[in-house]
């Protein structure tokens, strides 16, 4: 079978459908489909990134709460983390984005290494 942009069964145009990593080309007329996987580049990134706190953070309940949520540490430990510019987490890109959002919401200053392009 030769695969083209048209449905091999009814010649209607194929539509591209995505859900997460799933990619399907499907005919809206007759339901014929061809399916595969298509990850976003961020999910294929095997780099381990580190988020480190930097100067300028003053402990507040909001900041301690955010850090506690990410690290699982208690407020005293989180306060120490802020005072010592400690490492908040190490992990893959998707996790970094999730934690980055939490830190930004809490107005915490941090660095991500190596360079984070997402």
């Amino acid at each position: 079978m030769v695969i083209t942009d048209k449905c091999p069964e009814c010649s209607a145009a194929l539509e591209e459908k995505r859900e997460g990593s799933a990619l399907t080309y499907i005919c809206s007329k007759c339901g014929w489909s061809v399916a595969t996987t298509d990850f976003e580049p961020i999910d294929l990134d095997q780099t381990v990134y580190s988020i480190t706190l930097i100067d300028g953070n003053v402990p507040s309940k909001r900041k301690l709460s955010a850090l506690s949520k990410i690290t699982g540490k208690n407020f005293i430990e989180c306060s120490t983390l802020i005072k010592t510019n400690g490492v908040v987490m190490s992990g893959k890109a998707r996790k970094v984005i999730e934690y980055r959002d939490i830190l930004n919401d809490a107005e915490l200053k941090f660095d991500i290494n190596p360079h984070f392009k997402y």
Binding site: E19, G20, Y25, W32, S33, T37, F39, L44
Partner: protein, 160 residues
């Protein structure tokens, strides 16, 4: 469904059907599994088919409503729990690009399981009649193949 593998239902494999281990969930995400389920060769030559969205170093599973990426060691631990695994000759990964690297998912899975693993070197596409082809594009112009990975090909320490 052809094949002799028993139904296997650990929490992480809900939805597995006779003849394969499927890590795909429902909806659009399972389009590939649905098409592939109609293949004529289920568990060929004593191999167990593992169906999952994959890439060079990971596969994806649906568990408890969440999508989780597993490396080869983690996947190997799950596969070893499959009752038919012990007597099987190895695994056929119906999972895109898992065989694309000599130090990737398929090789490390073979090392982890101690059995051969067959895996596609590029994307795997599944048609509604169950036919599958390996190609980087859906037009099947940049063809790939199923590669055989034997245990011990690459040292375990390089696992990602």
């Amino acid at each position: 469904m052809k094949g002799n593998s028993p139904l296997f239902e650990p929490h992480a494999m809900r939805g597995a059907r006779v003849g394969d281990i499927s890590f795909m969930g429902n909806g659009r995400k399972a389009d590939f599994a649905r098409n592939a389920s109609r293949r004529k060769d289920v568990d060929p030559d004593g191999l167990i088919d593992v169906v999952a969205h994959g890439s060079a170093y990971i596969i994806e599973i649906e568990s408890g409503g969440k999508t989780i990426c597993l490396n080869s060691r983690e996947a190997g631990r799950l596969i070893k729990k499959y009752p038919a695994f012990k007597k099987s000759k190895g695994i056929r990964l119906l999972s895109c690009s898992t065989g694309s690297s000599s130090e990737g998912f398929a090789q490390h899975l073979a090392n982890s399981l101690g059995k051969v693993v067959f895996a596609p070197t590029k994307r795997l596409w599944a048609l509604p009649n169950g036919h599958m082809y390996v190609s980087s594009d859906r037009y099947n112009t940049d063809k790939g193949e199923f590669m055989k990975f034997i245990p011990g090909g690459v040292k375990h320490g390089n696992n990602r």
